[in-house]
Amino acid sequence: MKLRALKYRKGDQTKLSNLKKGQKAKVVFLDAQDKALRRRLLDMGITEGVQIKIKKIAPLGDPIDIEVRGYELCLRKYDMSLIDVEVIS
């Protein structure tokens, strides 16, 4: 639980699922082993280098709505933990 409270700052490398609402990050690596899932994430525009912003969090804490390439996409936390990012702000 303590880890969760940790706030990631600019330049930190972490998983997308660890970010707070309003934070921005750049995708570094897509760690999804499931081929179909990775394909879908790629198709939805989550490629290496793309900027992601945490926009809305569901009232029950999961899933999370992110802004990517100018539109909004909902993902479950588990899937977001497969995306390695570098924090921008």
């Binding site: 394909r39 280098g49 009232p59 804490g61």
Partner: protein, 660 residues
Amino acid sequence: MRVALIGNQNSGKTTLFNLLTGTNQKVGNWPGVTIEKKIGVIRGTDYEIVDLPGVYSLSPYSLEEEISRKFLFEEQIDLILNIVDSTSMERSLYLTTQLLELGIPMIIALNMSDIADKRGIHIDLKTLEERLDTTILSISALKKTNVFNLIQYIKMGDYRKNLYQHIYDHELEEAIESIKKVTKSKHPQFLAVKLIEDDQTFVQYHNDATKQIVDDLSKRYLRDMEQVVADERYRYIENIRDEAVTANRDQMTWTDRLDNILLHRVFAIPIFMVIMFGIYYLAAGPIGSFTAQMVGNYMSIFSDWTRSLLIGYGASSWSVSLVVDGMIAGVGAILNFLPQLAILFLLISLLETTGYMARIAFFLDRVFQKVGLSGKSLIPFIIGSGCSIPAIMSARTINDETEKRMTIMLTPFIPCSAKLPIITLFAGYFFKGNSGLVSASLYFFAIGVIFLSAFIMKKFWFKGKHSSFILELPDYKIPNFKFILFDVYEKVKAVIAQAGSIILLASIIVWFLISFSWTLRYGVDPNLSILASIGKILGWIFYPMLGTYSWGAAVSAIQGLVAKEQIIASMAIIAGYSDTTSEGVLIFGSSVFSFFTPASAYAFMVFNLFSAPCFGSIGAMNKELGSTKKMWQAVLFQTGIAWVLAVLVYQIGHLIEVMI
């Protein structure tokens, strides 16, 4: 000439299709409304246009996307009309660049240009046209701007020829060229890219030479080729975006403001409950049952009037009985509920078009995840309160096989509009003071049964594995009332058509079976009729939930397979017939059904709500589950649960009744 209309999910394809063809296909504001291709003719031409389910990419993820891909790759298409959502250009162009690789002439319609304008997104059409070498038109399907010009363009045929632009880096492009030399296809460029990506659906096109080329290539990149292709494609699009699109970033849209309230950490769920209660209150609750009573009064006046009219003309007693006790009693029992159903259809349509539906899926996903379902299951469940058939079909958008199968099996548990008459009738008669509460309790009962069954299935049947939830959250839209009214009108029309065909026919059959004995003597005591003898064979099934052998309840419940509203129609005929005073439609006053107590009434409702759905829905389940065996499993599972619950309800309820 054949035109294929294709674009992302929820990009307004169907709205445009309706405008181009002058038809009225169903539209909504959640990803995946169109699940099958629809064919029409463009106004003022003889061009065929095909509306394909929305896709994000030509590497399909769910079933309805597979339909689109297959169609584009295998069928003869003369022109692709690619509809692009101006408010999310990057993601849309990802599909566009794949479509260009098919080498089919293409026109791009930039839709929602009005919304993009308002958001400060400016698109330089000329640069975009240059870069893609494709004719581009800015339109708004909703406001009908520029649609006429679009038709003109299609008619004239003078669009740019979209020569292929180099979008990948040097090495990839070279590999594509060499693959094109050693393969044969209608779409060589597209196939070459798919072979490099190692797309499993195209393995049969591989030969030794192509395998060699792809092997060499992946050795040089040392990365998964699928990822390389996607990266390169998006890099190319980013370049185009930088040249042709300017946007004010990070501004607060009114969708964001609305979401701040509707998706609020504390208020979201209470607001959702209020909305659901409102829908229930208007459709199933007090307002709905009030309209049903009102129409019912007119119906019995009409019934009496017809009777005296026919007798006045000197009609024989059996023909009067056929018309009044058979046809009018049966069909009328359904038509009573027409205004109530119209209210329900209107409210569901509103949920679908505003964009709130996708939000419900979003914030309840967590709850559904716990029992092995997905937030997306909620879309079929909500549509299912109208009719199970489209609801079962809409489960296609769920990509995980297990979640999809469970959703299909559970959707019929939601009381559909045809079951609403059963609830209204029983709750209104047996729970007079608390009819609202009782009918509400049945919806909660249904939700409870869904969660319980999902839990059981997850535990013993489909052992848990991880699944994903990937859903685009659309902007809120003010619904187009013309579309909504048309949607409601179509559904109401379907109910009337069903009442006038299947229900009418079934009513005549029931009338015949109850009017005649096996020796074909007319006017026998109903207890000696053919119907009664059939019912008596089945009576034991219902004994544990009714506390008595009732042939009338048994035959009526079985007829629920034809259509759930037929249960009421059948009971009305049987009651009207058996009753010596023959006083209209007061079903429970008749001797055949006077045995019902609140406990058995509730149990009977539970059975009919949760047992096997009507043939139409069973057919839909068969189609969507993809196997007759799975369909039978589903039907038996549903009926089994329904029987057990109904028996439990009666036994417990009866105990309470006896004690009081």
